[in-house]
Symmetry: C2
Subunit: 159 residues, 2 copies
């Protein structure tokens, strides 16, 4: 609760819009560059990066999902699309007949390596370099606080 009532005041409204705009434009720019540089999307990149760092360069879907904090079906759809393009392969898990393990392919490795440097540079240039150290701290704490609050208030909606 706190706050001063139900409606957002002008200041809050402005912050809220700026937050949205920042996210949308940042996401757009990063996607465009990633697409141009390596022919992959941000979701592709996240999956590939997680797999590339994993031991054996493969993960079970469950682990991948936990790592990325994605929904079940979101990952399933994403992996299907990526498999069609040859970035990953799926095979069965020996220990558990239900499970599937996702492995990065050579093509996937090439893509993610091509993308990594430029992507990181882009994130730094557009995001971190625009922030003062104090703002960075605030961002960190605020992000954590909002996530924590979401976890408390909307527990069903957290994967």
């Amino acid at each position: 609760m706190g706050g001063s009532g139900k409606r957002l005041d002008g200041r809050e409204y402005q912050v809220w819009r700026a937050f949205h705009r920042m996210h949308d434009q940042l996401s757009l720019a990063l996607n465009q560059h990633l697409q141009r540089d390596a022919g992959i999307s941000e979701p592709d990149f996240q999956v590939l990066a997680a797999l590339a760092e994993a031991p054996g360069q493969a993960l079970r879907s469950r682990e991948l999902r936990e790592d990325l904090q994605w929904e079940k079906s979101r990952l399933a759809h994403q992996i299907r699309r990526m498999e069609q393009r040859g970035l990953v392969v799926r095979d069965e898990c020996l220990e558990d007949g239900r499970a599937a393990t996702v492995r990065i392919t050579d093509a996937g490795l090439t893509s993610v390596r091509t993308a990594a440097q430029a992507h990181a540079a882009m994130v730094r240039e557009l995001f971190f370099d625009a922030l003062t150290p104090a703002q960075l701290d605030a961002f960190d704490e605020a992000g954590t606080a909002v996530i924590e609050r979401l976890r408390q208030r909307c527990p069903a909606e957290a994967p």
Copy 2:
């Protein structure tokens, strides 16, 4: 420019992920509540709110686009879907044969009024109440700074 090299360090990586997670989960929760309370999505709400506040409760597509900072086709698709559900209507503009004006319907007004209170309360509860005043300031400045930087670096990509 700032920073310390191309790769993101651990701290930065963590902040970046927290930012993404915060946005995704916030967006998900807000959409779910909006859908449940008023049967509309966040994009629906943004359009309806802009129209409801406009003089004559109608705007030309161009103005709506500028207000929301959306891409041309994004708005066109959105309006088409909303028109099918009876939330808005499109009619021709007398002054300019190319233009279209979008008007909110009674059903649209009802929806947006139903949604407004609960939505604002939700944004306050999940976002603003989680932030200290200092964090709010930082968020505001940081958002503005990132947007400004985007405008400078990627001018072509800004609508």
